[in-house]
Symmetry: C2
Subunit: 258 residues, 2 copies
């Protein structure tokens, strides 16, 4: 059992929890909590390390056994050490370190399918919630600009309730270019924007395509909006200036999925 | 200028930031950030204290002047002290302490209007987002059970983007009793629940009434669901077991507002 905080592996894991650069360089990310670890296992993710506390192993015997037998390496750590590596206030004592070569990368977008495009979503809680919503409403995949926050950050993984293991996704350098490319191959693109846009109640989404949502503060880039086939908006009735990005995404994806 | 952290007022404000009990007993709550302070002022809230840093006052002269002249008492604090009382990672240097006798309490629900009912929503970010969504989509008011997290907590106030100052609300001891009462006076009530429920696409919401949403983990209480006029659900297509409460609320309120 590891109980010293200066252990090399513990130091590495703390870095993985806090640094997107570290996650990218190592090709690893963390999933914390009993449910997320189970989700990782069921999704066929490659579990490189499984860290657990004795107490958590005792309490979740069945999950413990399954994850243990699938992981490359299992490491028991003290409760104190687990608290140090945990990203949550009340750690459950289970953490999987996962290789990010998942089978969920989109290599080509297909006609007739329904994708979500996210440009520069900054808040990890928003991104996690949006991925969860996209999965629940049956999106065929999510395309993210590199300017979005790291999809493998602990908050995104947790907020997505495991959707990050399952929903196909793709990360693109420039969303405007991707929208232009989609247009060329005949995939409809919808820019969600409050200005000069059609009410989503009046839009025919039956051909599918890509629903684009922009940054929390500034929305989609002008260039991206300009290149989209259509501009769509959610009708507002109140005094609030706007919806939270995750709330807007829920409504847009719901209409898009009907 | 206050620069000592042992100042009595600073200690009181730290308590107000962290304790719902303290907020209730004192009848005060905090709004932090330039935009929220401006919102509080515009909404006619009673600003008991206005705390600011010199730097923030310099940077936001117009807002500073307006808030200053409306507040009972203005207190300049050092940047270090502001960081100590702030609930955010990057404090803007403006904070209003507000008397919670707002003019937004609902005293009676009315026929034909559209209300949101929240039973035991636990997460302050969810509650804040839901209030913001309710306002943006034109809800006539929000009814919350006492089991919901404190509507005046800094996270809720911030997440609501000021909706907490404007949207009419009411806090009820027992949501089931309130639903029963609403039924008796002819107000339709809709329980959002995945079980034995009608697809919201098929429901006629034209009479308005109350849309009820339950706790993040356990949903609405059985008793509350049983007493509602109708059960409604959002059609799920994916593998995710459920939507986040704020995402579900956005879709339900959107359909309810059409």
């Amino acid at each position: 059992m590891i109980s010293g905080k200066n252990n090399e592996l513990i130091k590495e894991i703390k870095k993985l929890m806090s640094s997107a650069k570290e996650r990218r360089q190592r090709g690893l990310f963390a999933a914390e909590g009993v449910r997320l670890c189970r989700d990782a296992l069921r999704s066929g993710a490659h579990i490189v390390y499984f860290l657990y506390t004795e107490e958590a192993a005792e309490k979740n015997k069945e999950d413990f056994g399954c994850i243990m037998s699938a992981a490359d390496k299992c490491i028991c750590v003290s409760g104190d050490i687990f608290k140090k590596i945990s990203d949550t206030g009340t750690p459950q004592g289970f953490m999987c370190i996962i290789g990010n070569k998942l089978d969920t990368y989109i290599t080509e977008i297909e006609s007739g399918k329904r994708y979500l495009g996210l440009e520069n979503i900054q808040d990890p809680s928003n991104l996690g919630t949006i991925l969860r919503t996209a999965e629940a409403l049956g999106s065929d995949g999510v395309i993210m600009s590199v300017g979005c926050c790291d999809v493998y950050s602990p908050k995104v993984v947790r907020g997505s309730m495991g959707a990050v293991f399952r929903i196909p996704f793709m990360i693109v350098e420039d969303m405007s270019e991707f929208v232009a490319y989609s247009g060329k191959i005949g995939i409809p693109t919808y820019a969600s924007t409050p200005h000069d846009a059609e009410n989503i109640e009046d839009t025919d989404f039956s051909r599918g395509g890509i629903m684009l949502i922009g940054n929390e503060g500034s929305g989609l880039k002008e260039e991206t909006v300009r290149l989209c086939m259509k501009r769509v908006r959610i009708e507002m009735r109140g005094r609030a200036e706007s919806l939270n990005a995750a709330a807007a995404a829920a409504i847009l994806l719901y209409k898009f999925s009907l």
